[in-house]
Assembly symmetry: C2
Homo-oligomer: 149 residues x 2
DNA sequence: AGAATATACTTGATATGTCAAGTAATAGTG
DNA sequence: CACTATTACTTGACATATCAAGTATATTCT
């Protein structure tokens, strides 16, 4: 066969893995806090550790700014967060976790940890390092837009 | 810090990598055939190599059946595909590539190959094997739903 | 200060992801 | 053959992804 079906590439294993992980995470998180998404849970936890702006959070979790706006709005409407303007720089948003949001974090934190452990069970530290290195290389390759060659 | 931010896990590198790859692919494909998505291009190529049913294709590329229905409908409306009922089993859909679709495949095939090469540049065969193995392990871990432990 | 840029975020349009519920056709069972 | 279960796909509702265009505020430059 002169042209291997793209699905045979390792790149599709990456897709497969991330989808499996997301599914597991969502399933387990939903069993504790129904209707929250893994993205929303992740964002809650990030905010609880620092007071990043929307844009900074978006960059942390590789999300588009547009998506971020929408996710944040949903989280506000669900009473996980409040948003006020930064008094120094009125372009920026100050995100604060509500009491309700704090309770949710308490509930979810152990499960999120467990999800990671479940996914990485029997993956040695060395393997995780290898994985990390190779993935970073691929990421870099993809970011050098000029593919003259 | 007692609870590492989830974004520090290798699992988020997986997200990062797949997003970078998708971005590169979409960017390059769009330069040749505007308005086609990488998913649609991938599906076109898969159909051109076999006559799988929708469900089978969905499984190949890890897509939900609902998404598949919608993507196929879009592809029909864009004149990439036609769909008829299988005469033997009327539940099944027969997907056929239109002339227009064939031209698009011709145009895109080299670029899709190049995208893969770009992403995997300087990743040795051995590394790809390692990557594949570790990813499969993680995928398996995530699919064993019972995380009693 | 005024103009040009840049930053932080928003909105619209369209595509896809995901769960739940539904339809039509087929297969399996008593 | 009637009944039930399964399969293949669809639809609705909602969340997120992505690009493009837009708004408001800050910053830089002249």
């Amino acid at each position: 066969m002169s042209f291997n079906t793209p699905t045979k590439t390792v790149l599709y294993s990456i897709e497969e893995t991330i989808k499996a992980y997301r599914k597991l995470s969502q399933y387990n998180i939903s069993s504790i806090v129904p209707k929250i998404t893994i993205d929303q849970a992740l964002i809650l936890i990030i905010i609880s550790h620092s007071d990043n702006t929307q844009t900074e959070i978006a960059n942390l979790i590789f999300k588009d700014y547009a998506s971020m706006t929408r996710i944040i709005n949903l989280m506000i409407s669900k009473d996980y967060l409040t948003k006020t303007l930064d008094k120094i720089d009125k372009r920026k948003a100050k995100l604060k976790i509500t009491e309700n949001g704090k309770i949710i974090i308490e509930k979810l934190t152990p499960m999120i940890k467990l999800n990671r452990e479940t996914a990485l069970k029997n993956i040695s530290y060395k393997e995780q390092e290898q994985l990390f290195k190779i993935l970073k290389k691929i990421t870099q390759n993809c970011k050098t837009i000029d593919n003259e060659n």
